[in-house]
Amino acid sequence: MKTSFFAFSLLAVSAVAMPAQADKLDDIIASGTLRCAVVLDFPPMGSRDENNNPIGFDVDYCNDLAAALGVKAEIVETTFPERIPSLMSGRVDVAVASTSDTLERAKTVGFTIPYYSFENAVVANEKVEMATWEDMKGKVVGATAGTYEAIWLEGKVKEWGVGEFRPYQTQADVFLALSQGQLDATVATVEVSEANVKSGNFPGIKIVDKAPMVPDYVALITLREEYGLINYMNLFINQQVRTGRYAELYKKWVGDGEPASLIVEGVYR
């Protein structure tokens, strides 16, 4: 009697303790919605159209991913510094937010393979004498807080030991400060720089030079332990390129020309 009761309770406990583990990938498919964090003041990757609807490369990319999963996409606007909190607090499932895949950050979040890569340009106020990127030495420079280029530029200013670095909260504030002459120069992605110079919203700025950084590879991010989802997204990114959808999106949002290469020469993955 006693033994059978013991055996029964052991069975009951193990049944409770070991349900089939549903991971994030299952959760998304079951819930029918994929929630993506997208930064919407970062054209052409993310912005809003005149009706205030989210548009851009990252928005389309999220929609494609949702379509592949067979679920509805939900765009959750975020800022660069808020990407991680919204991921960790479960407000979003993935961040499609041009996140640079640094090793430091990979200790905290899970990165896919790169889905895009940026080159960065040095943009300066027209009144400032600048010929190359090295002329930024000793000047007042700034960039969008929390971005790859901001981390690089701040490092450079520290290395030079002269000049001043200012991290503004949004890309728009950086270009406003640059246009007003509060900043002498900034480093921003070529895409953003060209869009902002062309738009005419920020008079008095010019593109000076390319920034001598390794290409800024950006990846999708989710929780570090969600291997199932990361694995799925890796294949998805590969398929986007394979099917020509990547080139199509590049043409639609960035412009004509060769889509940014996602290949790192001489190494796997």
């Binding site: 607090s89 479960g90 807080a145 929390g146 991290p167 406003l176």
Partner: protein, 221 residues
């Protein structure tokens, strides 16, 4: 659902940088209070002067400082003045923005304090042969500052918390700025901000407690 593993070592390694940032935060808060109190006294005098233009200046200042967000005030000091070619560093923009806000609120505090001082005191002082300036300076002002001492500590706490708004004008050496910079680098958001919150709490607590002790000593009758 809160899916996060706390790992403190990386964040704790940054503690010296954050404490350095806390010093800058305190420095800005203290300077902004000193400026704020001085300006508020002047604005109070403007209001009492009976001159229509001067009291209008004082009223406008108080209205704007109290009825618009501090974030907006700081942003306008940096980008608003920037549009007119006045370029202030992030440090100065933040300091001036907070001092502007402090001055507005403190002027209101002083007004309340003045109301608590009976008019008869001014009259008594004047009948003793003091000039109106002397009467204000040696009879009214000390009492005004005494009555509004604790509200002033409130404002001081508020000034410390307001330094975190410096992020909008690219301030990166104060406690909030240092924390968010480290966050961008490491993505250890919750650890870093938890530590920053504790530092903020300790600073403000120390200030309120020491103000209370100081008040008990200074204002013994």
């Amino acid at each position: 659902m809160f899916n996060y593993n706390f790992r403190w070592n990386q964040a704790l390694n940054s503690l010296p940088d954050m404490l350095q940032g806390a010093l800058v935060t305190m420095e800005i808060a203290i300077l902004s209070m000193v400026i704020g109190i001085s300006v508020a006294i002047v604005l109070t005098l403007f209001r009492l002067s009976g001159n229509r233009i001067l009291s209008a200046i004082s009223a406008t200042w108080v209205e704007i400082a109290r009825n618009t967000p501090a974030l907006f005030q700081i942003y306008m000091v940096h980008f608003g003045l920037g549009g007119f070619g006045v370029h202030l560093s992030p440090y100065l923009s933040l300091l001036i923005g907070i001092a502007f806000n402090n001055a507005g609120y403190l002027t209101e505090n002083f007004r309340g304090a003045l109301k608590a001082i009976p008019d008869t005191q001014t009259r008594a002082a004047r009948s003793l042969g003091m000039s109106s300036i002397q009467a204000f300076q040696s009879v009214i002002l000390p009492q005004m500052l005494r009555i509004s001492f604790l509200p002033m500590t409130n404002q001081m706490v508020w000034a410390i918390l307001m330094t975190s708004l410096g992020a909008v004008v690219a301030m990166n050496t104060d406690l909030y700025g240092v924390t968010s910079d480290l966050n961008a680098r490491t993505f250890r958001t919750f650890e870093l901000f938890a530590i920053a919150a504790v530092i903020f709490y300790v600073i403000t607590k120390v200030i309120t407690l020491s103000a209370r002790l100081l008040a008990a000593r200074l204002f013994r009758y």
